[in-house]
């Protein structure tokens, strides 16, 4: 029975990062993974969807080429080649997963391919083999949650209802798709399929999509999706699923909607299989951990989606580092109010910290400032003027407590806000920071100027 300092179960962005960090800190590490290294993020989530979204964007650009002074003759010759789309996606995923595998190997981490089952807090069984570790880090992530709607499980088994993993592996492009749920994944897939020419309908239980984002962001995104052809049905109660047809009720009236597929994105649940014997305390969101990611069982840590704090790859990675450091005696914590989150729609959304309403609820003396992309030179030049930045600050010291960006490259732009907030920066600091011209990043500076007094490049009364 091989003995390690640390056994990590799950090789996603939480697990493999924790493994590399732990190895760098001097531990011997075993990494147990049933599938390919990289988890959902690299194999079925972040990376493949972004690859496909790139193609979708390119397709949109081709369709719009004429307005940029490029004629395609005949215009109808622009076509999506689904097979090659998938091929490129597989190549990108293969390349990145290969890179991570190389990293893991170079950090002298033993990878066990198989389903890891915890026998006790120090022993993990993979098939016939058992290994021991002084500490255990659980990082098995989450899977799609299907609500109890009549017929949905049968349809899922038959492949008529699909999850995000299924959605990136469709044999051919669907003509129509129904998306259940209005969260980030729903919006990203709505953007993807809609841009590629699939007719998309979002069915959302509550009164709006993207309930968790700042109201201004939500309004702009909802409006923009509708304008680009996505049908959004809100306040809908799902009644049943038959094949790829969904029945729902709005204002007491039943409707049915048929499509090639139904994409279920109604939330995710932690993967806890294999850890039953540990007796972990599990709460509503997932495995209960302290701020250093240690579970109720001493020496057993849990990170990432299975804790359910923020189901984001970069949070899993950050938590993985926290756990590895905690095991090595360095007790650090994550401030979840300073973790950025992204939506890869067209335009993108990058957000961090408090939304305006959250900030007011939390009791801050809230100040806000927005600046539109339409007043930004680069945005106009690129023809991507939908969007804005909104800075939320605490008036007492001007500390930036939330930044919300809608822009074509918002996901790259939000890092500036993350650094500012990590360093407890203020609106004065951002306003004073010279931003390069012409860039979209100027809008952040302009909004900060607006928060301090007045922006330069807009008439504010």
């Amino acid at each position: 029975m091989k003995a390690y300092d640390i056994i990590i179960v799950g090789g996603g962005p939480g697990g493999y990062v924790a493994a590399i960090k732990a190895s760098q800190l001097g531990s011997t590490v075993a990494l147990v993974e049933a599938d390919r290294i990289g988890g959902v993020c690299l194999n079925y989530g972040c990376i493949p969807t972004k690859t496909l979204l790139r193609s979708a964007k390119l397709y949109q650009d081709f369709l719009d080429a004429e307005s940029f002074g490029i004629d395609i003759d005949p215009a109808s010759g622009v076509k999506v080649n689904w097979k090659n789309l998938m091929k490129r996606k597989d190549a990108v995923v293969g390349k990145i997963v290969g890179g991570v595998e190389l990293l893991v190997k170079h950090n002298k981490i033993d990878v066990y391919n198989g389903f890891g089952k915890a026998i006790d807090a120090h022993t993990v069984e993979i098939g016939e083999e058992r290994i021991t570790g002084k500490n255990l880090i659980l990082a098995t992530g989450s899977s799609v949650m299907l609500p109890d709607i009549p017929g949905i499980h049968e349809a899922y088994t038959k492949g008529q209802v699909i999850d995000s993993t299924g959605a990136i592996n469709l044999p051919e492009q669907p003509k129509t798709i129904t998306i259940l749920g209005g969260g980030v994944i729903a919006v990203e897939f709505a953007t993807l399929f809609n841009s590629l020419g699939t007719k998309v309908t979002i069915i959302q239980r509550s009164d709006a999509i993207l309930k968790m984002v700042d109201e201004d962001v939500r309004n702009v995104m909802q409006k923009h999706l509708k304008e680009t052809g996505v049908t959004i049905i809100t306040n809908a109660a799902l009644e049943k699923v038959e094949g790829s047809t969904v029945t729902y009720k709005v204002d007491g009236a039943s409707h049915t909607l048929s499509a090639d597929y139904i994409l279920a994105s109604l939330g995710r649940k932690p993967n806890l299989k294999g850890f039953e014997s540990l007796g972990l305390e599990v709460g509503k969101q997932g495995v209960v951990v302290d701020q250093h990611m240690e579970t109720s069982v001493k020496g057993v840590y849990a990170i990432g989606d299975m804790c359910g704090k923020m189901m984001l790859a970069h949070v899993a990675s950050a938590e993985g580092i926290i756990a590895a450091e905690a095991i090595h005696g360095s007790k650090n914590v994550i401030d979840y109010h300073k973790v950025p989150s992204c939506i890869y729609s067209f335009p993108e959304v990058g957000a961090i910290g408090y939304t305006e309403s959250e900030a007011r609820e939390a009791g801050f003396d809230v100040g806000t400032s927005t600046f539109p992309l339409s007043a930004n030179g680069k945005a106009v030049a690129e023809g991507e003027t939908t969007g804005f930045v909104k800075i939320i600050h605490d008036k007492k010291y001007g500390e930036v407590i939330g930044v919300h960006i809608v822009a074509s490259h918002a996901t790259d732009m939000i890092a500036e806000a993350a650094v500012t907030m990590e360093l407890e920066g203020t609106i004065y600091d951002i306003a004073k920071t010279v931003h390069p011209h012409p860039t979209l990043s100027e809008i952040v500076m302009e909004a900060a100027h607006g928060a301090v007094d007045k922006p330069i490049h807009i008439i504010k009364r």
């Binding site: 010291y397 500390e399 360093l423 407890e424 920066g425 203020t426």
Partner: protein
């Protein structure tokens, strides 16, 4: 690598302007070579290199404002590791042990050490008493920052913008706060914690103050807000004077002897000599004569030219006569020290007095000219006063106060005559010498000063 820092040179000096840099980067420097000179609000100090080696970096340019603790020059002396002339470990032990500031290093070491040590770290300083030496950056006095309430950017404290603002708001000295962020960055939570400590401090501080030694054996008093009053922050020099006076008064049992000396002949002699010397550009003051008389007295009563080493329970007698002269300046009291006064003529002394007084007022005295005294003379007669009880310059053993010479009716051979009378007050450390010897010392002064011929013969 040797980091030559702007070390605490006492005098309440916490910042200075880099006046001159003597070497370029890449130059070879020898131990003792002057590396740079600083202009402070009291003195100009030339800082010699503590080591020989190659000058790696001049961190500041001439004219820059620098603060105590800043690394000014880096010298590669071939010794591995990073060392500096502010040894924090030493200071820490001193602070932790909470020892009183004892006169452990009696002043003579200062000048001779100055060739090795870049700045005087221990030993006496000139403003009456000794200043605690620490590598902590002395908090800047309010008045310098009044117009610009921004944190002094030259003292680099790693802190977040919000932490800085909050510190200012809550009156927390951010330089004293230990940061818990990355690389010790001071975060707002650290300021919140520090502010809490401050507000709960008075209760805690009282017992510990009781344990600590004499200078702080009392609670800090506060004055209630009143109408028709104004509050002005103490200047750094004022604070230093306050600390030194308290130190002296709390540790030294002051006793005073007062007398009147008939200096009629001295006045006559001086008036004659004065005119003769004036043509040579020398301003002959009475002080030069007083110094001469004092030196004669000190040679006889050496307990007044001594220091008490409290921890060793030894009296340190000094075989040199470095006489401090208290000078009134617009900013406050300064005490330049005339070294080896016994080896100088009255004319030489007169020249030095004039030079030092002038330079004390325009702040161009050098540090070594402010340190190393063994006895002090204060001349309150210059403002017309007669008697005073001067405060001894810790850790010296005595200070002579001289009043204004006035014509008075006195009785000589049963006749009332008009004579020029000099009132004197001697404060002395009664732990070292007793009243009789102090009285005899005044007797020597009396004899010397009433008879200029005797004075000159002894000179």
């Amino acid at each position: 690598m040797f980091h030559v820092k702007f070390a605490d040179i006492g005098e309440g000096i916490h910042e200075g302007v880099l006046l001159k840099i003597f070497f370029n980067e890449g130059d070879e420097v020898k131990e003792g070579d002057s590396l740079f000179s600083l202009e402070t609000d009291k003195v100009n100090a030339e800082i010699p290199s503590p080591v020989s080696g190659k000058l790696v970096k001049n961190k500041f340019t001439v004219g820059t404002k620098v603060n105590v603790g800043d690394v000014i020059v880096i010298v590669d002396d071939g010794v591995p590791g990073m060392r500096s002339n502010m040894q924090e470990g030493e200071v820490l032990t001193e602070e932790e042990s909470q020892e009183p500031v004892t006169p452990k290093a009696v002043s003579q070491g200062d000048e001779s050490d100055a060739h090795v040590e870049p700045v005087v770290e221990k030993g006496s300083t000139s403003v009456v008493g000794q200043i605690e030496i620490s590598s902590d950056v002395i908090p800047s006095s309010g008045e310098a920052n009044e117009s610009a309430p921004e944190v002094d950017h030259n003292v680099r404290v790693l802190a977040t913008p919000v932490a800085r603002k909050m510190a200012k708001d809550l009156g927390v000295d951010i330089k004293k706060v230990k940061g818990t962020g990355p690389q010790g960055r001071v975060m707002k939570a650290d300021i919140e914690a520090a502010a809490e400590n401050v507000s709960s401090a008075p209760a805690k501080a009282a017992p510990s103050a009781g344990q600590s030694s004499a200078p702080r054996a009392y609670e800090k008093s506060s004055v209630a807000q009143q109408e028709r009053t104004e509050r002005v922050p103490m200047t750094m020099l004022r604070k230093t004077i306050a600390a030194n006076m308290s130190l002296s008064k709390f540790t030294i049992p002051h006793t005073a002897v007062m007398d009147e000396i008939d200096v009629t002949d001295l006045v006559a002699f001086r008036n004659v000599s004065k005119e003769a010397l004036e043509s040579e550009g020398v301003k002959l003051t009475y002080l030069a004569f007083f110094i001469k008389a004092v030196v004669t007295g000190l040679k006889k009563y050496k307990g007044l030219n001594a220091s008490l080493d409290e921890s060793a329970e030894e009296i340190v007698y000094k075989h040199f006569y470095n006489i401090g002269i208290a000078v009134d300046t617009p900013d406050g009291l300064m005490v330049p020290v005339i070294k080896d006064a016994d080896q100088k003529s009255i004319v030489e002394l007169a020249k030095i007095i004039e030079d030092y007084s002038e330079r004390a007022r325009n702040k161009t005295l050098k540090l070594e000219e402010l340190t190393g005294g063994s006895f002090t003379i204060t001349n309150y007669g210059s403002v017309g006063a007669s008697f005073g009880v001067p405060v001894i310059k810790h850790p010296e053993a005595g200070i002579l106060g001289v009043g204004a010479i006035v014509k008075k009716p006195v009785v000589i051979d049963d006749a009332v005559v008009i004579r020029s009378i000099l009132p004197v007050s001697l404060s002395f450390d009664h732990r070292i010498i007793d009243g009789a010897d102090a009285g005899r010392f005044v007797g020597v002064l009396k004899k010397q000063l009433s008879n200029p011929n005797l004075l000159l013969l002894n000179a």
